[in-house]
């Protein structure tokens, strides 16, 4: 690079080429782009469940024995279920829950995991050792059985009133929290490994010499430099968490009817596979495609952020 090329750049304008190049690379990954569009469309459709319900003049929770097992029609695009409720509407409402659990639990997982991982990596020593043994244990655990027990915990035994323990908000938050409780270790490990690497890099040492404290080093140097693997891990964890939620709800230890979720809609459908097999097809297909799309996006992010593709991207 010569001085001539340097002087073409106006003074102190931040060069955003890194992110632009990442987006370029991501955009050229067809599978990831299609998946991203699919997820956005599905999420907006789910978010519109209320207005759609109103416009079509339906009620997602109204049961009617006269309307049971209707085939798809102009009014009920995917037909009705065993209680005469519109299947499409229930799928959209179920999607709201699944996507919300996936995003919220990932967010909590990330906050817990990054905080613990970064502190352990930065502080090191005994705290780090204990943490690593803990994550080893949790990673080795058979998660579904443990989640079932966590899902079965009687909240009144830890001080909640009967009413609040069974309120839909608490049931929703409870599944978010128990999933976050077992899932933070993946992100904590990644954050810890990254922190240990970056903590001992010379630019952090240089800042320390100039009087930087731990907080400065973590916020200014460490977090931006470990963001890439964390973003990838968080994307993948959304898919994993949606699977956890649907499995738990299917087994009856997650979100319980009448709140529909893709998981608990399948619990019901299981009993009806002879009379109404399609009821078992739709919710599972949505879980599958959503998780698959999220995983494709995660893979796309991974390769778009690949440091091997980034090194030397600016040197001429």
């Amino acid at each position: 690079m010569s001085t001539a090329t340097l002087s073409n750049v106006s003074t102190l304008t931040r060069d955003n080429s890194v992110w632009r190049k990442r987006w370029e690379r991501f955009r050229h990954n067809k599978l990831a782009m299609v998946s991203l569009v699919f997820i956005l469309l599905l999420a907006s459709a789910c978010a519109m469940a209320g207005p759609i319900e109103y416009l079509m003049g339906l009620d997602a929770n109204a049961t009617s024995l006269l309307r049971r097992f209707r085939p798809p029609s102009a009014q009920h695009w995917l037909g009705t279920d065993d209680l005469g409720r519109d299947v499409l509407l229930r799928l959209l409402y179920g999607g709201q829950v699944s996507i919300a659990v996936g995003l919220l639990a990932t967010f909590i997982t990330a906050v817990i995991g990054i905080a613990i991982g970064v502190i352990a990596g930065y502080v090191g020593g005994r705290f780090d050792n204990i943490l690593m043994r803990m994550t080893d244990c949790i990673i080795a655990l058979p998660l579904i059985p443990v989640l079932i027990v966590l899902g079965a915990v009687d909240l009144t035994k830890i001080g909640l009133s009967q009413d609040s323990a069974s309120s839909p908000t608490v049931v929703f938050l409870r599944i978010v929290i128990i999933i976050a409780l077992v899932d933070w270790t993946t992100i904590a490990r990644i954050a810890r490994a990254g922190t240990i690497t970056v903590r001992n890099v010379d630019y952090v040492r240089a800042a320390t010499v100039s009087g930087a404290r731990a907080r400065y080093n973590v916020l200014v140097h460490i977090l931006p430099n470990i963001a890439t693997p964390l973003i990838v891990a968080m994307t993948l964890s959304v898919g994993r968490i949606i699977l956890f939620e649907s499995t738990l709800s299917f087994l009856g230890f997650g979100i319980v009817p009448p709140t529909p979720t893709w998981g608990n809609m399948l619990t019901n459908a299981q009993q009806l596979i002879i009379s109404a097999p399609m009821l078992a097809v739709y919710p599972g297909f949505l879980i599958f495609t959503t998780v698959m799309a999220v995983n494709f996006v995660g893979d796309g992010v991974r390769s778009a952020f690949d440091p091997r593709a980034e090194t030397g991207s600016g040197s001429h």
């Binding site: 102190l12 040492r205 240089a206 931006p224 600016g314």
Partner: protein, 314 residues
């Protein structure tokens, strides 16, 4: 001359984790080293890898706490957190710069940590970049857009911006191409002339040391072997280890080396340093006393400022 830095009997023990059910071992990285650096003076620390020179540099920079001894700065200036006005330049110019920050932010970081306003520090950054021979436009770019030599200039600019009284430079040339080395070496030399900054210059390259240093300290296995002015040390090395180091520098047309000056064998493990004089296992002059008694650092015969730790010094 006033003493800027005084190291008084510094030792650094690094405990190594022995793992479960295993005793901890202690690595004596630096052992009982006393040195001074005057204002504006360049002291070179030389020695093979594992000699403790980098660890000692870290102690001076405040990156590692000594286990024994005191570090005193004869200066009233202090950073915001009370640390002395020292800056560092590292060996690898790639890991020395945060890849996610633009050069302007990198160079201005010491001022940011001092609480200088953003406007002021960016103006200063452009100024200092000019001093190290980079155009002000460089401030808006990312480190990966620069070559190794340019990166080292950026690192030097970062060290300069805080107007330190001392710069600890850990082998700042050895990762650079030979053609670039002399440019950066000249830059360091210019800075020394213009700003009167003291260097603690860590290197194993005796050619560079000869060019830049005022005084030289030779370390072996964490112990100080010899400390003298550059001219004395290169002209009349007193310690057999120094003599061996000098003899190992390839020279054209000087003929074969004297046999006694070639270093025998490997450096012993710093985990189990030899008794007495730590150099006795490789020393051509070793006698019984060398195995038993650790030699004091004392003036060489007839040269009161040249100190050497050897029972049989020249």
């Amino acid at each position: 001359m006033t003493e800027l830095l005084t190291l008084d009997r510094i030792s650094v023990d690094i405990p190594l984790d022995g793992g479960f059910l295993k005793p901890k071992t202690i690595l004596q990285a630096v052992n009982d080293v006393s040195l001074t650096v005057s204002k504006g003076e360049t002291l070179a620390l030389v020695g093979e890898s594992g000699s403790g020179k980098t660890t000692l540099g870290y102690v001076v920079a405040g990156l590692r706490k000594q286990t024994a001894g005191t570090v005193t700065f004869g200066s009233s200036q202090r950073n915001a957190d009370g640390s002395p006005p020292v800056q560092v330049i590292f060996q690898d110019p790639f890991s020395a710069l945060d890849p996610r920050m633009i050069v302007g932010e990198i160079v201005a970081e010491p001022l940011r940590l001092k609480g200088v306003s953003a406007k002021e520090r960016l103006a200063r950054a452009a100024e200092v970049l000019g001093q190290v021979g980079l155009p002000p436009e460089a401030a808006g770019r990312y480190p990966h857009q620069f070559s190794g030599g340019q990166r080292q200039r950026i690192a030097i600019a970062r060290a300069l911006i805080a107007e330190p009284e001392m710069i600890v430079a850990g082998e700042p040339l050895s990762a650079l191409d030979v053609s670039i080395q002399s440019q950066v070496l000249n830059l360091l030399d210019d800075i020394k002339q213009q700003h009167g900054i003291s260097y603690l210059f860590i290197s194993h390259d005796l050619g560079v040391v000869r060019h830049l240093a005022d005084r030289v300290a030779v370390l072996y296995l964490g112990r100080l072997m010899e400390v003298a002015s550059r001219d004395d040390l290169f002209a009349t090395p007193s310690h057999p280890y120094t003599q061996a180091l000098l003899a190992a520098v390839p020279r054209i047309g000087k003929g074969r080396r004297k046999k006694e000056q070639i270093l025998r064998g490997e450096m012993p493990s710093p985990l189990a340093p030899p008794s007495g004089c730590v150099f006795h296992t490789r020393c051509p002059r070793a006698q019984a006393i060398c195995r038993e008694t650790r030699p004091q650092l004392l003036p060489a015969p007839g040269r009161p400022t040249q100190l050497s730790a050897c029972h049989f010094k020249d």
